[in-house]
């Protein structure tokens, strides 16, 4: 596209007075340092979160597995409780229902333990970083 000569000459001589370059660079570098500090903190937080999630997952799996070994005991306990409380029971189907109940107790327990393990690990790592 052709350039208009008059406008080209007008802009060729355009050289406005700008605020001091040193002040501009100093202000910019201070802002860059603040940004870097924020980025480092965010990276530390992400790393802490990943570690806490990993530890919480391991603990959840281990606790879940350990409690699972007691499922027959839990089911029998629930079955025994139902015998005490109810009068008309069917001996064939109740143990199955209570096995489901036992698994639900194990699941809730594993989730509850994992969440608490995550909070605990996260708090411990934050405390260690701040000291």
């Amino acid at each position: 596209m052709e350039k208009d000569d008059k406008l080209r000459n007008l802009f060729a001589n355009y050289n406005p007075h700008l605020p001091d370059k040193a002040d501009f660079m100093e202000s910019l570098q201070r802002k860059m340092e603040s940004l870097e500090w924020i980025k480092n903190r965010q990276a530390q937080e992400r790393s802490r979160h990943r570690k806490a999630v990993f530890i919480a997952a391991i603990i959840g799996i281990v606790i879940g597995f350990a409690i699972s070994l007691f499922v027959p005991l839990i089911a029998n306990a629930l079955f025994g409780l139902s015998k005490c409380l109810s009068f008309d029971t069917n001996f064939d189907i109740i143990p199955q229902k209570y096995f489901v109940g036992a698994w639900m107790i194990v699941s809730v327990g594993a989730v509850f333990t994992s969440i608490n393990a995550y909070d605990f690990c996260s708090a411990m790592m934050l405390r260690r970083e701040n000291h």
């Binding site: 007008l10 406005p16 700008l18 605020p19 660079m25 802002k31």
Partner: protein, 163 residues
């Protein structure tokens, strides 16, 4: 890109970039410097995403143009002052001789739309081709030619009126 590499590039490009933004802001060099700093910070945050074969300067000008447009949008939401009044305020407070030397040019530039002004300045001040300007302003080559045709016609008219 390391921090020192980035600072080196900033020192090389800041003069022309700030001059472009000053013209874009109708002579308000303080607003131009605010936009320039914001653009450089955005570029610093995103510089790792810049591919090796991409050029830094057009990419920086794209960020600068977008930042300027965002500033204008937020200004128009919060202020009822017209752009002509804003230019007059800047000229009235700036005691430098440059303020008077370029007063007519700034007044004429401010009368253009933001897109026309950006296209004209990138073409005449920064010497970019229409294709490069289209990439900076994220629009088509045809649209840039139309903006340039309209922009310089109106600029010539405004400058004649002032003369």
């Amino acid at each position: 890109m390391t921090r020192n590499d980035f600072i080196t590039i900033v020192e090389q490009t800041q003069g022309a970039f700030r001059r472009f933004l000053t013209a874009l802001c109708g002579g308000d060099s303080f607003q131009a410097d605010d936009i320039a700093q914001e653009a450089f910070l955005k570029a610093y945050l995103a510089c790792d995403d810049l591919s090796a074969d991409s050029k830094f300067k057009p990419w920086l000008y794209r960020i600068g143009y977008t930042t300027f447009i965002n500033h204008q949008r937020s200004k128009s939401k919060h202020s009822s002052t017209s752009s002509i009044d804003a230019v007059a305020d800047v000229i009235a407070t700036d005691s430098s001789d440059d303020a008077f030397r370029y007063q007519e040019l700034h007044e004429a530039l401010v009368k253009l739309s933001e897109k026309e002004r950006s296209a004209v300045l990138l073409f005449y001040l920064e010497d970019y081709s229409t294709k490069e300007i289209a990439e900076i302003m994220e629009t088509s080559n045809v649209a840039i030619r139309q903006l340039l045709t309209r922009g310089r016609k109106r600029l010539r008219e405004f400058l004649k009126q002032i003369d």
